[in-house]
Symmetry: C2
């Protein structure tokens, strides 16, 4: 446990535009039992407990809005057991997705979920994260099979089993995934793994309009092409990554693609995609199977957030994250672009369009409250638009404090039901208070 200023500062920050909110102390447990002890003590004294993975969440989830103890999982970062035949792995929450895949490399297996940041597996589960590969491999909801959890009372609970599926009672694993540390702390996770594909090829393809790119995506999904990745970057995003990563993509909307399968299957997929893209005016479609070319492409994509930030020196980001039925995706993007233009808010758009999910990264000069207000208003309109089109306020980033205001609108009485579940499992309200659920009372 430490109370050093640098530790408190670090754990009070967010990646996004939220003001600092440091905890009163930071703990670095090394075992589940230590976590249980910390939570027990906090329960006795009514002190808030906030889990901390790598602090990359974008809605202020890991900040200590009302003080308390930050439980930093960086020392619980071991890969505990790789079950090769079962294609599962048991890990501690602090391991990052890159470190995990590094350990898996020699086994021929991989864990595909890949938020842009090198986040911790615990933080990813807590925010129900996803990324570029969800279109093929699913989100954390689909890939967490079992958990060990320290409950709000400081008890140790196991959810799920080693079996692939189960009909044994309420899905507690699924309840903790996406709960943002408001119901308990995950101290161990069993994840589903996948075979590293025999063959991989990656591609980019330019379009004259976002509409054409999106129509290509719809056709691709509909005809059942098992895309491993299908990402959109609009012209502004392309401009930003060209500048940041010294790429030379034509300045127009692009799809970034990846195909996984057997060598023959990958070729077949790429050809089928090429034909669909050509139908919608796609140009410059070309695919690469060389590892370096692919790595360069996805590193560029994963750094796109920083590239966009760099496009406006000194700016902070209001990151939006809507997800709509795919039939409404072109409309949602088009209306968003028009709205941002009218509001004068710079906001390059990019996203995991195979899932109907996209982000506008709204760039604001922090010291100008007018700008922040305008960006927040535009972000709110995006959410309204998403809900009106049958979508959600957040496809993958979660609620934290940043999206609390939309919960009643999205869930109606479901939000109160979340509050009732929270009250039942954390009656003292100590687990990450102020996030996700309605204020107690």
């Amino acid at each position: 446990m430490t109370r050093s200023k640098s530790d408190l500062d670090l754990h009070g920050r967010s990646e996004s535009y939220f003001p600092e909110a440091p905890p009163d102390a930071v703990a670095y447990p090394e075992t589940t039992e230590e976590v249980a002890q910390i939570v027990s003590v906090c329960a006795r004294h009514g002190l808030p407990v906030i889990g901390w993975g790598t602090g990359t969440s974008l809605e202020g989830q890991a900040q200590a809005s009302s003080g308390g103890i930050a439980v930093d999982f960086s020392r619980m970062n071991r890969v505990l057991e790789i079950a090769q035949e079962d294609m599962t792995v048991r890990v501690q929450p602090g391991v990052t997705r890159e470190a995990l895949n590094e350990e898996l490399r020699a086994t021929g297996l991989m864990f595909p979920v890949d938020p842009g940041a090198n986040a911790s597996i615990g933080g990813m589960a807590a925010t129900r994260a996803s990324g570029t590969t969800a279109v093929r491999y699913g989100t954390m909801r689909d890939n967490v099979l079992a958990l060990e959890v320290v409950t709000a009372a400081g008890g140790i609970l196991r959810t799920g089993t080693g079996a692939r599926k189960s009909s044994s009672g309420y899905d507690l694993t699924g309840l903790f995934v996406g709960s943002e540390g408001t119901l308990g702390l995950m101290t161990e996770l069993t994840l589903r793994l996948y075979g590293q594909p025999e063959a991989i090829s990656a591609a980019v393809c330019g379009f004259e309009t976002v509409e054409q790119a999106v129509q290509t995506v719809i056709d691709t999904i509909q005809c059942g092409l098992p895309m491993a990745r299908i990402e959109l970057m609009d012209t502004d995003s392309v401009r930003a990554v060209n500048a940041y990563a010294r790429m030379d993509l034509p300045e127009k909307p692009h799809l970034l693609l990846e195909f996984h399968g057997s060598p023959g299957g990958v070729t077949e997929q790429a050809e089928s995609f090429g034909a669909l893209a050509a139908d919608h005016g796609g140009s410059g479609f070309d695919w690469a199977t060389r590892t370096e070319a692919r790595t360069a492409l996805w590193t560029m994509r994963h750094n796109a957030y920083y590239a966009i930030l760099a496009a406006r020196p000194g700016a902070r980001a209001v990151v939006t994250d809507i997800c709509v039925p795919i039939s409404k995706l072109a409309q949602a993007i088009e209306e968003t672009r028009a709205d941002l233009q009218e509001a004068g808010v710079p906001g390059p758009i990019l996203g995991h369009v195979g899932d109907g999910n996209f982000h506008a990264v709204l760039l604001v000069n922090e010291s100008d409250p007018g700008e922040l207000a305008r960006a927040k208003a535009a972000a709110a309109r995006m959410v309204e638009r998403s809900l009106a089109l049958g979508g959600t306020a957040t496809g993958e980033h979660g609620i934290g404090v940043g999206k609390l205001d939309y919960m009643a609108r999205e869930h109606g009485t479901g939000w109160a039901m979340m509050g009732a579940i929270k009250a039942a499992l954390d009656p003292g309200g100590i687990m990450n208070p102020g996030k996700l659920v309605p204020p107690a009372g």
Copy 2:
């Protein structure tokens, strides 16, 4: 609402060995509002409310253990909206999986989850059902995107949105799926659909031992072959279906297989599988692309339960349903066979082995209490074995009353947590009392 004897009798029965437990009345609502009214009245009077789909659940889930009103959804059986581009469908709970696929046929889309019975979608969601295709397309957990629910207080709640994924708060949809009507009644479901595969081929393959068949399954899954179906039938099961469906499979363990994909992909998959099977002594492997041959094969598989029942005229079934990590599957099956043999309980084995899930259908002469007791004891040992091997008491059939006794053992303090959630969402304890959760205390 009716109280006719035939209605009460029908809704007091179970497909399995449980004694009758009729409700006090049966309602046949036609709208969500009617369901809400029924539940409101029951809430006011503290009367039990039990949902009823098609009554095919195997653990007594739909029986009225403590009387009350059975809410039969057979008149809420419409397909409300097929969203072609989004590949989703909104249905009422009473539609059966076959009726749904009939309506989908012309669209090129399909809903793959297929328990052996022609169950209702509501019942399937409530039991978190799966079937032969879960290995490729997932279970009800993976394929229910959104719900309309009548809560225990008689309110109407919507969970989820039209988006493919979301990080917006607790996963209420996932909480209701698998809750067996103990938290509320589902009055509308949005399901994920899939494109009907361009090409399909089906196959059977015989093995000398179950062990060899299972090792073939493990290799198949590990090397990433996207099997659409991979089912095991042991020698006794093969004998039963040969007699019942006039098949002439060699009397040895068999795998039943299906491949979905492009014409080239399906051929490639079948060839890869054939090579793996040959490595493990598989014989008679042959694949058919003719629709009639495939239909005959899967009709036979879906009727296997009745074929096994018919193998012992007059018998009832104690159906078991364990699911283990796939690395433990051969051991689990082998030990089960040896145990049943020693106990003198006839119990053909078959299962969804790609998921590690299998059933021994224990045949008992109902009028011999000794037999029932021996079968139940053997079923209990199967569960013990499954849990010891890191598996679950039920892969797909659920808890109902039949598996209540194993909940504490499988979930530890998690079972109490389920009770706490139940108490929070149904404080009056009117929703399907006596099932799934601990007795209210």
